[in-house]
Symmetry: C2
Subunit: 219 residues, 2 copies
DNA sequence: ATAAATCTGAACTGACGAGTTCAAATCAGG
DNA sequence: CCTGATTTGAACTCGTCAGTTCAGATTTAT
Protein backbone atom coordinates (compact mmCIF):
# COMPACT_ATOMS: atom_id res chain seq x y z
CA UNK A 1 0.00 0.00 0.00
CA UNK A 2 2.75 2.43 0.89
CA UNK A 3 4.72 1.75 -2.24
CA UNK A 4 6.77 4.75 -3.30
CA UNK A 5 9.74 2.53 -4.13
CA UNK A 6 11.91 2.73 -7.21
CA UNK A 7 11.00 6.18 -8.48
CA UNK A 8 14.30 6.31 -10.38
CA UNK A 9 13.33 3.85 -13.09
CA UNK A 10 13.95 4.90 -16.66
CA UNK A 11 11.41 3.29 -18.97
CA UNK A 12 14.15 2.21 -21.41
CA UNK A 13 12.79 0.99 -24.72
CA UNK A 14 10.69 -2.07 -24.00
CA UNK A 15 11.10 -5.08 -26.20
CA UNK A 16 14.35 -6.54 -27.41
CA UNK A 17 16.91 -3.82 -28.09
CA UNK A 18 20.42 -3.66 -26.73
CA UNK A 19 19.33 -4.49 -23.23
CA UNK A 20 22.64 -6.24 -22.97
CA UNK A 21 24.64 -3.09 -23.43
CA UNK A 22 22.38 -1.19 -21.06
CA UNK A 23 22.88 -3.90 -18.47
CA UNK A 24 26.67 -3.89 -18.77
CA UNK A 25 26.83 -0.11 -18.55
CA UNK A 26 24.58 -0.12 -15.53
CA UNK A 27 26.61 -2.89 -13.96
CA UNK A 28 29.85 -0.96 -14.23
CA UNK A 29 28.20 2.17 -12.84
CA UNK A 30 26.76 0.36 -9.85
CA UNK A 31 29.91 -1.67 -9.14
CA UNK A 32 31.88 1.55 -9.40
CA UNK A 33 29.87 3.34 -6.75
CA UNK A 34 29.19 0.42 -4.41
CA UNK A 35 32.02 -2.05 -4.86
CA UNK A 36 31.51 -5.68 -5.79
CA UNK A 37 30.02 -6.99 -2.57
CA UNK A 38 27.80 -4.04 -1.82
CA UNK A 39 26.40 -3.89 -5.32
CA UNK A 40 23.16 -5.82 -5.59
CA UNK A 41 21.80 -7.18 -8.82
CA UNK A 42 18.42 -5.61 -8.21
CA UNK A 43 19.98 -2.16 -8.27
CA UNK A 44 21.82 -2.94 -11.49
CA UNK A 45 18.56 -4.05 -13.05
CA UNK A 46 16.85 -0.83 -12.00
CA UNK A 47 19.74 1.31 -13.27
CA UNK A 48 19.49 -0.48 -16.59
CA UNK A 49 15.72 -0.04 -16.67
CA UNK A 50 15.19 -3.76 -16.83
CA UNK A 51 13.75 -6.55 -14.70
CA UNK A 52 15.99 -8.69 -12.57
CA UNK A 53 15.36 -11.96 -14.40
CA UNK A 54 16.35 -10.19 -17.62
CA UNK A 55 19.75 -9.54 -16.16
CA UNK A 56 20.18 -13.22 -15.36
CA UNK A 57 18.87 -14.02 -18.80
CA UNK A 58 21.71 -12.12 -20.49
CA UNK A 59 24.56 -12.77 -18.09
CA UNK A 60 24.47 -15.94 -16.07
CA UNK A 61 25.40 -14.61 -12.64
CA UNK A 62 26.89 -11.75 -10.66
CA UNK A 63 30.47 -12.85 -11.19
CA UNK A 64 29.97 -12.98 -14.93
CA UNK A 65 28.37 -9.58 -14.87
CA UNK A 66 31.38 -8.20 -13.04
CA UNK A 67 33.92 -9.77 -15.36
CA UNK A 68 32.22 -8.51 -18.50
CA UNK A 69 31.65 -5.03 -17.14
CA UNK A 70 35.24 -4.69 -15.97
CA UNK A 71 36.80 -6.12 -19.12
CA UNK A 72 34.72 -3.81 -21.27
CA UNK A 73 35.83 -0.80 -19.26
CA UNK A 74 39.46 -1.91 -19.45
CA UNK A 75 39.18 -2.17 -23.21
CA UNK A 76 37.90 1.40 -23.41
CA UNK A 77 40.60 2.81 -21.16
CA UNK A 78 43.27 1.02 -23.17
CA UNK A 79 41.93 2.45 -26.43
CA UNK A 80 42.04 5.98 -25.02
CA UNK A 81 45.60 5.56 -23.81
CA UNK A 82 46.86 4.00 -27.02
CA UNK A 83 45.38 6.88 -28.98
CA UNK A 84 47.42 9.29 -26.89
CA UNK A 85 50.63 7.31 -27.30
CA UNK A 86 50.10 7.57 -31.06
CA UNK A 87 50.80 11.28 -30.71
CA UNK A 88 54.43 10.60 -29.86
CA UNK A 89 56.23 11.11 -33.16
CA UNK A 90 59.39 12.72 -34.43
CA UNK A 91 58.83 16.19 -33.05
CA UNK A 92 58.22 18.82 -35.70
CA UNK A 93 59.04 21.46 -33.11
CA UNK A 94 59.82 21.17 -29.43
CA UNK A 95 60.20 17.68 -27.94
CA UNK A 96 59.42 18.98 -24.49
CA UNK A 97 56.15 20.52 -25.62
CA UNK A 98 55.17 17.32 -27.36
CA UNK A 99 55.86 15.17 -24.30
CA UNK A 100 54.06 17.58 -22.03
CA UNK A 101 51.00 17.38 -24.21
CA UNK A 102 51.10 13.60 -24.14
CA UNK A 103 51.71 13.54 -20.40
CA UNK A 104 48.81 15.85 -19.79
CA UNK A 105 46.40 13.80 -21.88
CA UNK A 106 47.42 10.55 -20.22
CA UNK A 107 46.98 12.02 -16.78
CA UNK A 108 43.51 13.23 -17.62
CA UNK A 109 42.53 9.75 -18.70
CA UNK A 110 44.11 8.25 -15.63
CA UNK A 111 42.23 10.67 -13.37
CA UNK A 112 38.79 10.34 -14.83
CA UNK A 113 36.11 8.50 -12.95
CA UNK A 114 36.10 5.46 -15.20
CA UNK A 115 39.82 4.71 -14.82
CA UNK A 116 39.72 5.31 -11.11
CA UNK A 117 36.75 3.04 -10.63
CA UNK A 118 38.41 0.39 -12.76
CA UNK A 119 41.58 0.43 -10.68
CA UNK A 120 39.58 0.41 -7.47
CA UNK A 121 37.45 -2.54 -8.50
CA UNK A 122 40.23 -4.74 -9.80
CA UNK A 123 42.47 -3.87 -6.87
CA UNK A 124 39.70 -4.71 -4.44
CA UNK A 125 38.94 -8.06 -6.03
CA UNK A 126 42.55 -9.11 -6.37
CA UNK A 127 42.04 -12.08 -4.12
CA UNK A 128 38.76 -13.33 -5.47
CA UNK A 129 39.43 -12.88 -9.19
CA UNK A 130 43.19 -13.14 -9.65
CA UNK A 131 42.88 -13.92 -13.35
CA UNK A 132 40.81 -10.80 -13.93
CA UNK A 133 43.56 -8.52 -12.75
CA UNK A 134 45.86 -10.20 -15.22
CA UNK A 135 43.58 -9.23 -18.07
CA UNK A 136 42.94 -5.68 -16.88
CA UNK A 137 46.57 -5.05 -16.14
CA UNK A 138 47.64 -6.25 -19.55
CA UNK A 139 45.19 -3.85 -21.19
CA UNK A 140 45.66 -0.76 -19.11
CA UNK A 141 49.30 -1.00 -18.25
CA UNK A 142 51.47 -3.47 -20.11
CA UNK A 143 50.09 -2.68 -23.54
CA UNK A 144 50.38 1.04 -23.08
CA UNK A 145 53.93 0.73 -21.79
CA UNK A 146 54.87 -1.40 -24.80
CA UNK A 147 53.38 1.07 -27.25
CA UNK A 148 55.16 3.94 -25.57
CA UNK A 149 58.44 2.01 -25.58
CA UNK A 150 58.12 1.59 -29.34
CA UNK A 151 57.76 5.31 -29.80
CA UNK A 152 60.60 6.16 -27.47
CA UNK A 153 62.85 3.73 -29.32
CA UNK A 154 62.35 5.79 -32.45
CA UNK A 155 63.27 8.94 -30.58
CA UNK A 156 66.49 7.29 -29.42
CA UNK A 157 67.41 6.26 -32.92
CA UNK A 158 66.75 9.72 -34.28
CA UNK A 159 68.96 11.20 -31.59
CA UNK A 160 66.26 13.06 -29.71
CA UNK A 161 66.95 10.89 -26.67
CA UNK A 162 70.15 9.28 -25.51
CA UNK A 163 70.62 5.59 -26.30
CA UNK A 164 68.82 3.57 -23.63
CA UNK A 165 66.50 0.67 -22.96
CA UNK A 166 63.18 1.96 -24.32
CA UNK A 167 61.12 -0.36 -22.12
CA UNK A 168 62.75 1.06 -19.03
CA UNK A 169 62.40 4.61 -20.27
CA UNK A 170 58.69 4.03 -20.88
CA UNK A 171 58.23 2.43 -17.48
CA UNK A 172 59.86 5.37 -15.77
CA UNK A 173 58.04 7.96 -17.84
CA UNK A 174 54.75 6.41 -16.76
CA UNK A 175 55.95 6.07 -13.19
CA UNK A 176 56.78 9.77 -12.99
CA UNK A 177 53.28 10.53 -14.21
CA UNK A 178 51.02 8.10 -12.44
CA UNK A 179 52.56 7.65 -9.02
CA UNK A 180 52.45 11.32 -7.98
CA UNK A 181 48.88 11.58 -9.19
CA UNK A 182 47.84 8.44 -7.36
CA UNK A 183 49.34 9.85 -4.21
CA UNK A 184 47.72 13.25 -4.60
CA UNK A 185 44.31 11.79 -5.38
CA UNK A 186 44.49 9.68 -2.21
CA UNK A 187 44.51 6.53 -4.31
CA UNK A 188 41.70 7.83 -6.47
CA UNK A 189 39.45 9.00 -3.66
CA UNK A 190 39.87 12.71 -4.22
CA UNK A 191 39.48 14.71 -7.41
CA UNK A 192 42.84 16.19 -8.45
CA UNK A 193 42.56 19.84 -9.54
CA UNK A 194 43.72 20.47 -13.13
CA UNK A 195 46.42 22.83 -11.91
CA UNK A 196 48.05 20.00 -10.00
CA UNK A 197 47.76 17.69 -12.97
CA UNK A 198 49.59 20.23 -15.10
CA UNK A 199 52.26 20.65 -12.48
CA UNK A 200 52.86 16.91 -12.20
CA UNK A 201 52.96 16.49 -15.97
CA UNK A 202 55.47 19.26 -16.46
CA UNK A 203 57.67 18.16 -13.56
CA UNK A 204 57.63 14.61 -14.88
CA UNK A 205 58.65 15.66 -18.38
CA UNK A 206 61.35 17.90 -17.00
CA UNK A 207 62.88 15.11 -14.94
CA UNK A 208 62.47 12.62 -17.76
CA UNK A 209 64.28 14.88 -20.21
CA UNK A 210 67.09 15.61 -17.81
CA UNK A 211 67.63 11.89 -17.41
CA UNK A 212 67.15 10.87 -21.03
CA UNK A 213 68.32 13.82 -23.11
CA UNK A 214 71.25 13.07 -25.39
CA UNK A 215 74.61 13.32 -23.64
CA UNK A 216 76.55 16.44 -24.53
CA UNK A 217 79.39 15.25 -26.78
CA UNK A 218 81.95 13.93 -24.27
CA UNK A 219 85.72 14.35 -24.51
CA UNK B 1 26.43 -35.57 15.27
CA UNK B 2 28.84 -35.19 12.39
CA UNK B 3 30.77 -32.37 14.02
CA UNK B 4 34.34 -32.16 12.78
CA UNK B 5 34.20 -28.37 12.62
CA UNK B 6 36.92 -26.00 13.76
CA UNK B 7 39.87 -28.31 14.03
CA UNK B 8 42.26 -25.35 13.65
CA UNK B 9 41.73 -23.86 17.08
CA UNK B 10 44.79 -22.88 19.08
CA UNK B 11 44.13 -23.07 22.83
CA UNK B 12 45.69 -19.62 23.48
CA UNK B 13 46.18 -18.83 27.17
CA UNK B 14 42.80 -18.88 28.82
CA UNK B 15 41.91 -16.12 31.23
CA UNK B 16 42.49 -12.44 30.69
CA UNK B 17 45.78 -11.83 28.91
CA UNK B 18 46.27 -9.71 25.82
CA UNK B 19 43.35 -11.22 24.03
CA UNK B 20 42.94 -7.80 22.53
CA UNK B 21 46.25 -7.90 20.73
CA UNK B 22 45.65 -11.44 19.58
CA UNK B 23 42.29 -10.37 18.21
CA UNK B 24 43.69 -7.39 16.32
CA UNK B 25 46.50 -9.46 14.82
CA UNK B 26 44.07 -12.16 13.78
CA UNK B 27 41.74 -9.55 12.35
CA UNK B 28 44.41 -8.10 10.11
CA UNK B 29 45.48 -11.55 8.96
CA UNK B 30 41.96 -12.60 8.08
CA UNK B 31 41.02 -9.29 6.44
CA UNK B 32 44.25 -9.52 4.46
CA UNK B 33 43.47 -12.91 3.01
CA UNK B 34 39.71 -12.56 2.56
CA UNK B 35 38.99 -8.86 2.12
CA UNK B 36 36.59 -6.90 4.29
CA UNK B 37 33.31 -8.34 3.11
CA UNK B 38 34.40 -11.94 2.82
CA UNK B 39 36.05 -11.97 6.21
CA UNK B 40 33.70 -13.26 8.86
CA UNK B 41 34.03 -12.48 12.53
CA UNK B 42 33.80 -16.14 13.45
CA UNK B 43 36.97 -16.86 11.48
CA UNK B 44 38.77 -13.99 13.16
CA UNK B 45 37.76 -15.35 16.53
CA UNK B 46 39.07 -18.79 15.64
CA UNK B 47 42.35 -17.37 14.30
CA UNK B 48 42.77 -15.48 17.57
CA UNK B 49 41.92 -18.60 19.58
CA UNK B 50 39.00 -16.87 21.21
CA UNK B 51 35.22 -17.11 21.28
CA UNK B 52 33.09 -14.87 19.09
CA UNK B 53 31.43 -12.94 21.92
CA UNK B 54 34.89 -12.13 23.26
CA UNK B 55 35.68 -10.37 20.02
CA UNK B 56 32.57 -8.23 20.37
CA UNK B 57 33.47 -7.68 23.99
CA UNK B 58 36.77 -6.05 23.06
CA UNK B 59 35.87 -4.26 19.85
CA UNK B 60 32.30 -3.21 19.36
CA UNK B 61 31.70 -4.34 15.81
CA UNK B 62 33.25 -5.46 12.54
CA UNK B 63 33.86 -1.94 11.29
CA UNK B 64 35.71 -1.03 14.46
CA UNK B 65 37.75 -4.18 14.21
CA UNK B 66 38.74 -3.23 10.68
CA UNK B 67 39.67 0.33 11.53
CA UNK B 68 41.86 -0.66 14.43
CA UNK B 69 43.56 -3.49 12.58
CA UNK B 70 44.31 -1.32 9.57
CA UNK B 71 45.51 1.68 11.54
CA UNK B 72 47.84 -0.49 13.58
CA UNK B 73 49.33 -1.99 10.45
CA UNK B 74 49.76 1.46 8.89
CA UNK B 75 51.62 2.60 11.97
CA UNK B 76 54.03 -0.31 11.68
CA UNK B 77 54.69 0.21 7.98
CA UNK B 78 55.34 3.89 8.57
CA UNK B 79 57.85 3.13 11.30
CA UNK B 80 59.74 0.76 9.03
CA UNK B 81 59.89 3.29 6.23
CA UNK B 82 60.95 6.18 8.42
CA UNK B 83 63.77 4.07 9.81
CA UNK B 84 65.06 3.56 6.29
CA UNK B 85 64.82 7.24 5.41
CA UNK B 86 67.00 7.92 8.45
CA UNK B 87 69.82 6.23 6.57
CA UNK B 88 70.00 9.09 4.07
CA UNK B 89 72.86 11.23 5.35
CA UNK B 90 75.81 13.13 3.96
CA UNK B 91 77.45 10.30 2.08
CA UNK B 92 80.76 9.23 3.55
CA UNK B 93 81.53 7.47 0.29
CA UNK B 94 79.47 7.00 -2.84
CA UNK B 95 76.09 8.80 -3.01
CA UNK B 96 74.84 6.33 -5.58
CA UNK B 97 75.62 3.37 -3.36
CA UNK B 98 73.87 5.03 -0.44
CA UNK B 99 70.73 5.75 -2.43
CA UNK B 100 70.67 2.28 -3.90
CA UNK B 101 70.80 0.79 -0.45
CA UNK B 102 67.93 2.99 0.69
CA UNK B 103 65.94 2.27 -2.45
CA UNK B 104 66.42 -1.42 -1.99
CA UNK B 105 65.30 -1.40 1.61
CA UNK B 106 62.23 0.66 0.85
CA UNK B 107 61.22 -1.62 -1.97
CA UNK B 108 61.51 -4.65 0.24
CA UNK B 109 59.18 -3.07 2.74
CA UNK B 110 56.78 -2.03 0.05
CA UNK B 111 56.73 -5.55 -1.41
CA UNK B 112 56.20 -7.50 1.76
CA UNK B 113 52.88 -9.10 2.49
CA UNK B 114 51.86 -6.64 5.18
CA UNK B 115 52.28 -3.53 3.04
CA UNK B 116 50.58 -5.16 0.09
CA UNK B 117 47.64 -6.27 2.17
CA UNK B 118 47.37 -2.82 3.69
CA UNK B 119 47.24 -1.12 0.30
CA UNK B 120 44.76 -3.68 -0.98
CA UNK B 121 42.42 -3.28 1.97
CA UNK B 122 42.39 0.51 2.07
CA UNK B 123 42.11 0.76 -1.70
CA UNK B 124 39.22 -1.66 -1.69
CA UNK B 125 37.31 0.16 1.04
CA UNK B 126 37.86 3.60 -0.41
CA UNK B 127 34.16 4.16 -0.85
CA UNK B 128 32.95 2.80 2.44
CA UNK B 129 35.61 4.27 4.73
CA UNK B 130 36.88 7.42 3.04
CA UNK B 131 38.29 8.82 6.25
CA UNK B 132 40.33 5.69 6.85
CA UNK B 133 42.28 6.12 3.65
CA UNK B 134 43.12 9.61 4.76
CA UNK B 135 44.77 8.27 7.89
CA UNK B 136 46.57 5.39 6.21
CA UNK B 137 47.80 7.53 3.37
CA UNK B 138 49.17 10.13 5.70
CA UNK B 139 51.13 7.46 7.56
CA UNK B 140 52.45 5.38 4.73
CA UNK B 141 52.93 7.99 2.06
CA UNK B 142 52.83 11.64 3.04
CA UNK B 143 54.95 11.27 6.15
CA UNK B 144 57.59 9.24 4.42
CA UNK B 145 57.75 11.68 1.51
CA UNK B 146 58.17 14.57 3.93
CA UNK B 147 60.94 12.85 5.82
CA UNK B 148 62.75 12.02 2.60
CA UNK B 149 62.34 15.60 1.36
CA UNK B 150 64.07 16.83 4.51
CA UNK B 151 67.02 14.57 3.85
CA UNK B 152 67.25 15.48 0.18
CA UNK B 153 67.20 19.17 1.07
CA UNK B 154 70.39 18.65 3.05
CA UNK B 155 72.00 16.95 0.08
CA UNK B 156 71.10 19.93 -2.11
CA UNK B 157 72.64 22.37 0.33
CA UNK B 158 75.82 20.36 0.59
CA UNK B 159 76.09 20.31 -3.19
CA UNK B 160 75.57 16.57 -3.65
CA UNK B 161 72.41 17.33 -5.63
CA UNK B 162 71.55 20.28 -7.79
CA UNK B 163 69.37 22.99 -6.26
CA UNK B 164 65.75 21.91 -6.56
CA UNK B 165 62.41 21.58 -4.79
CA UNK B 166 63.10 18.79 -2.30
CA UNK B 167 59.43 17.85 -2.01
CA UNK B 168 59.26 17.25 -5.72
CA UNK B 169 62.53 15.36 -5.74
CA UNK B 170 61.26 13.10 -2.98
CA UNK B 171 57.95 12.55 -4.74
CA UNK B 172 59.73 11.55 -7.93
CA UNK B 173 62.28 9.36 -6.17
CA UNK B 174 59.44 7.43 -4.59
CA UNK B 175 57.52 7.36 -7.87
CA UNK B 176 60.47 5.81 -9.70
CA UNK B 177 60.62 3.14 -7.02
CA UNK B 178 57.06 2.23 -6.27
CA UNK B 179 55.25 2.54 -9.58
CA UNK B 180 57.39 0.02 -11.49
CA UNK B 181 57.15 -2.42 -8.62
CA UNK B 182 53.39 -2.01 -8.38
CA UNK B 183 53.13 -2.73 -12.06
CA UNK B 184 55.39 -5.76 -11.94
CA UNK B 185 53.65 -7.23 -8.93
CA UNK B 186 50.32 -6.96 -10.73
CA UNK B 187 49.11 -4.46 -8.14
CA UNK B 188 50.45 -6.61 -5.37
CA UNK B 189 49.00 -9.89 -6.54
CA UNK B 190 52.26 -11.50 -7.57
CA UNK B 191 55.46 -11.88 -5.61
CA UNK B 192 58.26 -9.86 -7.22
CA UNK B 193 61.54 -11.78 -7.46
CA UNK B 194 64.45 -10.10 -5.63
CA UNK B 195 66.39 -9.79 -8.87
CA UNK B 196 63.67 -7.57 -10.30
CA UNK B 197 63.56 -5.52 -7.14
CA UNK B 198 67.27 -4.88 -7.42
CA UNK B 199 66.93 -3.95 -11.06
CA UNK B 200 64.14 -1.47 -10.38
CA UNK B 201 66.03 0.08 -7.49
CA UNK B 202 69.20 0.55 -9.45
CA UNK B 203 67.41 1.89 -12.52
CA UNK B 204 65.47 4.32 -10.35
CA UNK B 205 68.60 5.62 -8.65
CA UNK B 206 70.36 5.95 -11.98
CA UNK B 207 67.58 8.01 -13.48
CA UNK B 208 67.18 10.05 -10.31
CA UNK B 209 70.86 10.92 -10.23
CA UNK B 210 70.93 11.85 -13.91
CA UNK B 211 68.06 14.24 -13.30
CA UNK B 212 69.22 15.65 -9.98
CA UNK B 213 73.01 15.54 -10.04
CA UNK B 214 74.69 18.92 -9.76
CA UNK B 215 74.93 20.74 -13.08
CA UNK B 216 78.42 20.76 -14.53
CA UNK B 217 79.63 24.32 -14.00
CA UNK B 218 78.16 26.19 -16.98
CA UNK B 219 80.14 28.89 -18.79
C1' DA C 1 -2.79 -12.19 -37.44
C1' DT C 2 -0.32 -15.47 -35.13
C1' DA C 3 3.42 -18.03 -33.22
C1' DA C 4 7.86 -17.95 -30.93
C1' DA C 5 10.83 -15.55 -28.26
C1' DT C 6 11.60 -12.26 -24.83
C1' DC C 7 10.48 -9.28 -20.97
C1' DT C 8 8.17 -8.24 -16.52
C1' DG C 9 6.89 -8.06 -11.66
C1' DA C 10 6.30 -10.27 -7.71
C1' DA C 11 6.86 -13.73 -4.77
C1' DC C 12 9.79 -17.41 -3.18
C1' DT C 13 14.00 -20.39 -1.52
C1' DG C 14 18.19 -20.99 0.58
C1' DA C 15 22.48 -19.56 2.21
C1' DC C 16 25.17 -16.79 4.95
C1' DG C 17 26.74 -13.83 8.34
C1' DA C 18 26.41 -9.84 11.95
C1' DG C 19 25.38 -9.29 16.38
C1' DT C 20 22.95 -11.08 20.82
C1' DT C 21 21.67 -14.02 24.67
C1' DC C 22 22.59 -17.05 28.43
C1' DA C 23 23.96 -20.49 31.55
C1' DA C 24 28.02 -22.75 32.72
C1' DA C 25 33.10 -22.62 33.16
C1' DT C 26 37.28 -20.14 34.21
C1' DC C 27 40.13 -16.79 35.96
C1' DA C 28 42.34 -13.01 39.12
C1' DG C 29 42.82 -10.91 43.39
C1' DG C 30 42.09 -10.29 48.38
C1' DC D 1 38.70 -20.14 49.04
C1' DC D 2 35.41 -16.82 47.88
C1' DT D 3 33.77 -13.05 44.88
C1' DG D 4 33.27 -10.53 40.77
C1' DA D 5 34.73 -10.05 36.21
C1' DT D 6 35.69 -12.41 31.98
C1' DT D 7 35.36 -16.17 28.70
C1' DT D 8 33.05 -19.77 26.38
C1' DG D 9 30.09 -22.43 23.27
C1' DA D 10 25.94 -22.96 21.37
C1' DA D 11 21.82 -21.55 19.90
C1' DC D 12 19.10 -17.84 18.28
C1' DT D 13 17.24 -13.43 15.71
C1' DC D 14 17.23 -10.80 11.91
C1' DG D 15 18.35 -8.79 7.65
C1' DT D 16 20.24 -9.18 3.10
C1' DC D 17 20.87 -10.89 -1.19
C1' DA D 18 21.81 -14.38 -5.14
C1' DG D 19 19.34 -16.85 -8.01
C1' DT D 20 14.68 -19.12 -9.42
C1' DT D 21 9.89 -19.66 -10.69
C1' DC D 22 5.83 -18.50 -13.10
C1' DA D 23 1.88 -16.55 -15.17
C1' DG D 24 0.88 -12.88 -17.94
C1' DA D 25 2.27 -8.89 -21.01
C1' DT D 26 5.01 -7.34 -25.02
C1' DT D 27 7.70 -7.72 -28.98
C1' DT D 28 9.31 -9.42 -33.42
C1' DA D 29 9.02 -12.02 -37.44
C1' DT D 30 6.60 -14.37 -40.78
Amino acid sequence: MTDVVASTRRPAPRGRIDKRKAILDAAFAVFARRGYDQACVQEIAEEAGVAKPTVYNHLSDKENLFRHAVETAAEAVMADNLAVVELVREPSGDLRALLEDVADRMLRICCDERSRALRRLTYAQLVRFPDLIEVVHRRTSTRVAEALADRLARLCLSGHLRPCDPAQAAEQFLALLTAPVEARSRLGGREVPPAEIDAVASAAVDTFLRAYRPEPATS
